[in-house]
């Protein structure tokens, strides 16, 4: 499977602030690649660098085997994108918008094909209506039609479900799956919602404060054998001290008040319990949890936690 996007050591500073920090990842052909992070994590900045809207401070971006700096034109001919809101020319009609952007892609697309594209996103009957009369969901659908009009190999969607109602979110999800399964497109989709990514993506990357937290196969990352385990004891300070001096240190993901969160295999729980009891820790409860949001938070907070503790 060939790499469609290869990013190495990507870094972006805005004045003194580091928005993206030495980020590396690979998107393979045919992937639906989830790009996860909380608001402000650096997702949009990264996507804008992939689309040449922002210049990286350092690092390399290769797409379709070509360097983005030297082959921008050729690369962008094969990319369709929506970045955050689908802002379009409000004073023009849906047809005029799609026609303009098709021509900007360097293609002479016949009217019939443009109308078919509008049909695909259920806007053919509003082709002559001005975009300013459209709802957010309709604008998003038109944005998708524009992103797809030149039949790109790679589709980059930055938070495509933002501002959509539940039906719009479901439609968007189905569209992404359809593009991947039936049209063999590679899709990179960013979101701050783990549940979204779990449903549509086969691979994913989680970033926090511009740094890569984890990258891999969604099935493996959400492996049910690896559980989120919450430990509550009567003496949290002593518990923490004990854990940090044992092998269990590497399983800790975060620590809040009287709770310590681990990511570990289910079969290791009795051993953890025994060792704590042997060290005089009074265990109140060990609770197994598997919540996607907690998993996500545990990963991002773990970075802060380890850094704080080591300092």
């Amino acid at each position: 499977m060939s790499a469609i996007i290869q990013v190495n050591g990507l870094t972006k500073y805005f004045k003194e602030a580091k928005a993206v920090d030495d980020l590396s990842f690979t998107v393979n052909e045919g992937d639906v690649y989830g790009f996860l992070g909380q608001n402000g994590a650096g997702k949009s900045t990264t996507i804008r660098m992939l689309l040449t809207l922002i210049q990286p401070t350092s690092g390399d971006i290769n797409m379709f085997g070509m360097d983005l700096r030297t082959h921008r034109h050729k690369i962008l001919q094969q990319v369709g994108a929506i970045i955050e809101r689908p802002d379009l020319y409000r004073y023009l009609s849906a047809y005029e918008n799609i026609s303009i952007f098709a021509r900007m892609s360097g293609l002479k697309i016949p009217k019939k094909r443009l109308m078919e594209q509008l049909e695909l996103v259920d806007l053919a009957n509003r082709a002559d209506s001005k975009v300013k009369t459209f709802s957010q969901g309709m604008k998003q659908r038109l944005g998708i039609a524009i992103a797809l009009i030149h039949d790109p190999r790679l589709i980059i969607l930055d938070e495509p479900t933002n501002g959509l109602d539940p039906q719009g979110i479901a439609d968007m999800r189905n569209l992404i799956l359809d593009l991947s399964r039936n049209h063999k497109k590679t899709v990179m989709v960013s979101s701050h919602l783990l549940s979204e990514i779990e449903i549509i993506a086969n691979r994913m990357l989680i970033i926090d404060r511009g740094k890569k937290i984890i990258e891999g196969n969604v099935q493996e990352l959400f492996n049910p054998a690896k559980m989120i385990v919450e430990l509550q004891t009567l003496n949290p300070a002593k518990t923490l001290e004990t854990i940090m001096s044992t092998k269990w240190k590497s399983f800790v993901r975060s620590h809040e008040h009287d709770k310590i969160i681990f990511e570990m295999n289910k079969v290791d729980i009795p051993e953890l319990n025994n060792e704590l009891v042997e060290n005089g820790v009074q265990v109140l409860q060990i609770q197994q949890r598997y919540s996607l949001e907690e998993y996500f938070l545990s990963l991002t907070k773990a970075q802060q936690y380890v850094a704080t503790f080591e300092n």
């Binding site: 805005f14 804008r48 809207l53 922002i54 001919q77 802002d87 379009l88 360097g106």
Partner: protein
């Protein structure tokens, strides 16, 4: 590039605000023409001032289409920069504000190409605005007032340009004014690169033009050779030079002559230099700009 230029022009002329300028020019020209139609004699007397004490001014001859067109150009050409800035100042900043700039830049369009096309589209708009003005100021005035020799008052003398010697001067004046206003468009275009809404560049352009025009007109000798020659506003009214002719030994205007052609050409060169400077700077800034809108 041609495809992109067509797209830019399409976008400009589908915006209702574009036609505000055309409407404003039509309105003011018609108001001036109506005023001169009904009270032209008083205006001619006022304009001729002391000269009318020395000469018998043939009012009916003076108030013809060419003269009315000259009056109109004198009155409104200085205010047209605002109308030009409305479009040129909006070209990048307006798209940034709408959010369409980021979508445009994800297309395989070069930044330099886009900038050149956007500037050329602003220039085409400027030229069309001037053609509209020419059409109304000249043709409509000729229709209402007929044609005759053009009387141009200059300080304590008047120039009488023969009817057959007039039309080319208007064509040359409009061509010069196109370059002058394209300079303002280039300035608004440059400022547009730094902003994310179009109000800023439009207001900034007008502020700069007003301040520099005041400086250009300031009667302080120390600025005459040090500052004024380098201000583009000092050269923007160079179109008037086409109506100032050389005078023959018989004290009559020499047909086809221009009093100071080198000065006009120098002004033209300076304005073109400013255009190149503004547009080049705009392109260099935009090529490095992070699009965050």
């Amino acid at each position: 590039m041609w495809q992109l230029l067509k797209i830019e022009l399409f976008k400009i002329f589908r915006k209702p605000r574009t036609f505000i300028s055309f409407g404003a020019i039509a309105a003011i020209i018609l108001i001036i023409q109506l005023g001169l139609k009904f009270d032209g004699k008083s205006y001619v007397e006022l304009m001729m001032g002391d000269i009318s004490d020395s000469f018998e001014i043939p009012y009916a001859m003076v108030l013809n289409g060419y003269f009315v067109a000259f009056v109109i150009l004198n009155a409104i050409l200085i205010h047209v920069p605002l109308l030009v800035a409305l479009v040129a100042g909006d070209s990048i900043a307006g798209e940034a504000n709408m959010g369409t700039l980021r979508l445009v830049m994800t297309k395989p369009v070069s930044r330099t190409g886009l900038m050149l096309v956007k500037y050329f589209a602003s220039v085409i708009y400027t030229v069309l605005l001037l053609l509209w003005m020419a059409l109304l100021a000249l043709l409509l005035s000729i229709f209402f007032f007929g044609t005759n020799d053009t009387i141009i008052p200059r300080n304590d003398v008047i120039e009488q340009i023969q009817k057959a010697d007039t039309l080319w001067r208007y064509i040359a004046a409009f061509a010069f004014a196109s370059v002058a206003l394209s300079t303002v468009a280039a300035l608004a275009f440059l400022l547009s690169v730094f902003a994310e809404n179009s109000i800023g560049p439009i207001v900034a352009t007008m502020s700069i033009v007003i301040v520099l025009t005041i400086l250009s007109e300031l009667k302080i000798p120390m600025y005459d050779n040090t500052v004024k020659p380098y201000l583009f506003t000092s050269h923007m009214l160079g179109w008037k030079g086409f109506f100032y002719s050389r005078i023959g030994p018989d004290h009559m205007v020499i047909p086809g002559s221009i009093e100071n052609l080198p000065a006009i050409l120098r002004s033209l060169g300076i304005l073109l230099g400013y255009i190149v400077m503004f547009v080049t700077t705009a392109i260099l800034v935009f090529r490095k700009k992070d699009i965050l809108s």
